[in-house]
């Protein structure tokens, strides 16, 4: 049984005109102790997907539906209050993009990390202090950092605080939304090593959201490529990175400037579509160099390439005329 099993998840945003179809029928599984990468350009719906999973719905969210099973329990059926009490932060937590800049500037960071713990356990404060110190050891922050204020810490240290905070109630799954995008490359590498250690030593599962497929390869066992609110390809890291099938995945990989080769990086002409009126058929067809007449008429079926490796593309449909 998978740790997390998501089936046909939707979340749209109401606007004055057509709704924005940010999450439009997403299905995937996350296994225990593994990391799933969600890779896509800005506007592909990857952050909306994480909000839908955490049930942190913006006020204009609409058409929120689908099945979400966490540790065997259908958490989609829970009332909001029960979701908050039983799931959010306890079983599944999140490090938001840029969250390190949302730390409260007038509270010591140790106190902020302890907050969810104090709400949960109304016991003695030393217990909370003990837990915070344990977490700071875990994320390799010096113990005296608990008494520091956010402005006294560097970006990398604040991000470690955010990771400690996400772990305070021992969740089995942590969603990381671009956790390193504001950090310098040398600090980013330190952070990725830390995440690898947490995954290996604590058996935590991650959903790792990023626009950078190379960075995803640094931790992810499985990679899902998102485009215009849909997953266009999903598979083991080996499958997606070495044998990419969808033209979009291939183009994404070609757009990365390689240090070890003279091959010049490519780009994907055009821009992702407006999600209030996505293109008919395959949503990538206007930018796809291989599009043929079927692509703008019919939405592609999900095609299994090999065990666990799926894509949505008519080029790969053997029954295609």
């Amino acid at each position: 049984m998978s740790l997390l099993d998501v089936r046909d998840l939707h979340m749209h945003y109401a606007t004055q005109g057509n709704p924005v179809r940010a999450v439009d029928g997403i299905s995937f599984q996350v296994e225990k102790g593994q990391a799933l990468g969600i890779v896509g350009e800005s506007g592909s719906g990857k952050t909306s997907l994480s909000l839908a999973l955490m049930r942190l719905l913006p006020s204009n969210a609409t058409d929120y539906r689908g099945q979400v099973v966490l540790e065997g329990e259908d958490i989609g059926d829970l009332r909001d209050e029960d979701f908050r009490r039983l799931v959010r932060w306890r079983k599944m937590s999140m490090v938001f993009q840029g969250a390190m800049n949302s730390l409260n500037p007038v509270l010591k960071v140790g106190h902020q990390v302890a907050e969810p713990f104090l709400l949960e356990n109304k016991g003695p404060k030393d217990l909370a202090k003990e837990r915070v110190l344990q977490l700071f050891d875990l994320v390799r922050l010096p113990r005296e950092t608990v008494d520091r204020y956010p402005h006294e810490l560097s970006g990398g240290m604040k991000q470690r605080v955010m990771i400690a905070m996400s772990l305070v109630l021992n969740p089995s799954l942590v969603i990381l939304d671009e956790p390193t995008s504001a950090l310098d490359v040398s600090i980013q590498a330190q952070m990725m090593n830390l995440l690898k250690d947490l995954k290996r030593d604590l058996g935590i599962s991650f959903i790792f959201i990023t626009h950078d497929i190379a960075l995803a390869s640094d931790i992810c066992d499985k990679i899902a490529v998102m485009y215009a609110g849909e997953i266009v390809e999903i598979g083991n890291a080996e499958d997606v990175l070495i044998r990419p099938q969808h033209p979009y995945t291939r183009k994404l990989l070609d757009s990365i400037p390689r240090l070890g080769s003279n091959e010049a990086p490519q780009f994907i002409p055009g821009a992702p579509p407006d999600l209030t009126a996505p293109p008919p058929g395959c949503r990538f067809h206007p930018r796809c160099p291989f599009a043929f007449d079927r692509c703008d008429r019919e939405s592609p079926a999900i095609i299994t390439i090999e065990e666990g490796h799926k894509t949505r593309c008519w080029l790969l449909d053997k029954k295609s005329p």
Binding site: E41, S186, A189, A214, D221, P257, F267, A271
Partner: protein, 328 residues
């Protein structure tokens, strides 16, 4: 090749508040020398706080140097009063990181592009329209008549950045400072802007100073790379050589920190340098990288500031691992 811009022993210090009345100098750039040849692209690569942005701003004389000189076509512009800078300003332009805040939201694309022409009093109204259309064509914003009427909020980040590039181009400058021009754009569109810059360079012979934290794009789009650390250049040379045969341990660390899409990455730890870049108010003694350096030589690196020496033709490094750095 002929020299366009020469920076000599440049220092830029800022005063930071310390306490209620005290100030303390922040040494953003602390002794940088480099030369840009006409028509080349030099990438300045560094992490935040390395001084790379200040260096670019100083090259445009947007900040005044504390000491040192900046020569543009042989003329020392480093201490010219602002009133004498207008002629220089017409020939140098900038493209900046954030395509959302660097364009005026209340101006249409054609107004944005006309502004530099108006400031420098160039062309009749009719000629200006032609120049605007040419600039839009140059950056492939078409159809040009339609694009000229758009406002920034109607455009994606990539398109806005092309408007920024068109604005820089319209005065036909000799030199463009491109400060992180693609870091806020999706990875899949970055190469498009960079190719466009290269094409314009070939067409108009523009010299580029490309400021970036991304050594991988620098490898593919710059002729030479200068690596900055804590206000200094620690290595400078031809792009391929910098990547394939880095001489400075910091350059090596920067290169190793960048993942390539390889499924084996997740199975191993990435070699990292410990710690964080130093504070610009109290940089370390000796070599500024020594507290983080895996190859630091005891007794030397902490004490003696290494000179930038030519280790291979055109390829310089400031590191005691190259023994001549001690003497020169």
């Amino acid at each position: 090749m002929t020299e366009l811009l020469r920076i000599k022993d440049l220092r830029v210090y800022f005063q930071a508040r310390r306490g209620l009345i005290g100030t303390i100098p922040v040494k953003a750039i602390d002794g940088v020398s480099l030369t840009l040849e006409k028509g080349e692209t030099l990438a300045v690569v560094g992490e935040s706080g390395s001084g790379k942005t200040t260096l670019g701003r100083a090259a445009l004389r947007l900040v005044k140097p504390t000491s040192g000189n900046i020569f543009f076509e042989g003329e020392d512009i480093s201490h010219l009063p602002d009133s004498s800078l207008k002629k220089f300003r017409r020939r140098v332009q900038g493209v900046f990181q954030d395509p959302y805040s660097s364009l005026d939201a209340f101006m249409s694309v054609s107004q944005i592009l006309e502004e530099p022409l108006a400031i420098h009093d160039i062309g009749s109204p009719h000629e200006r329209i032609e120049m605007i259309h040419q600039a839009l064509q140059d950056v492939r914003l078409s159809p040009v008549e339609e694009m000229a009427t758009k406002y920034p909020h109607m455009l994606s980040g990539g398109l806005r950045q092309r408007v920024g590039l068109a604005r820089a181009l319209i005065l036909r400058p000799d030199f463009i400072l491109a400060d992180e021009p693609v870091s806020m754009i999706d990875a899949s569109s970055r190469a498009e802007i960079l190719y466009l810059m290269r094409e314009l360079q070939n067409t108009y012979g523009i010299t580029f100073l490309y400021i970036t934290h991304d050594i991988a794009t620098a490898r593919h789009f710059a002729d030479r790379i200068a690596v900055m650390y804590a206000g200094r250049i620690v290595e400078i040379g031809p792009s391929d050589q910098i990547i394939d045969e880095p001489l400075h341990p910091y350059t090596t660390a920067l290169i190793r920190a960048i993942p390539e899409p390889d499924p084996a990455n997740r199975l191993r730890q990435r070699p990292v340098i410990p710690g964080e870049p130093p504070s610009a108010t109290e940089p370390p003694t000796g070599c500024r990288f020594h507290p983080r350096c895996p190859s630091a030589i005891a007794g030397t690196c902490k004490v003696v500031d290494p000179n930038l020496i030519e280790v291979m033709p055109g390829h310089y490094a400031a590191c005691h691992l190259w023994p001549r750095a001690l003497q020169e």
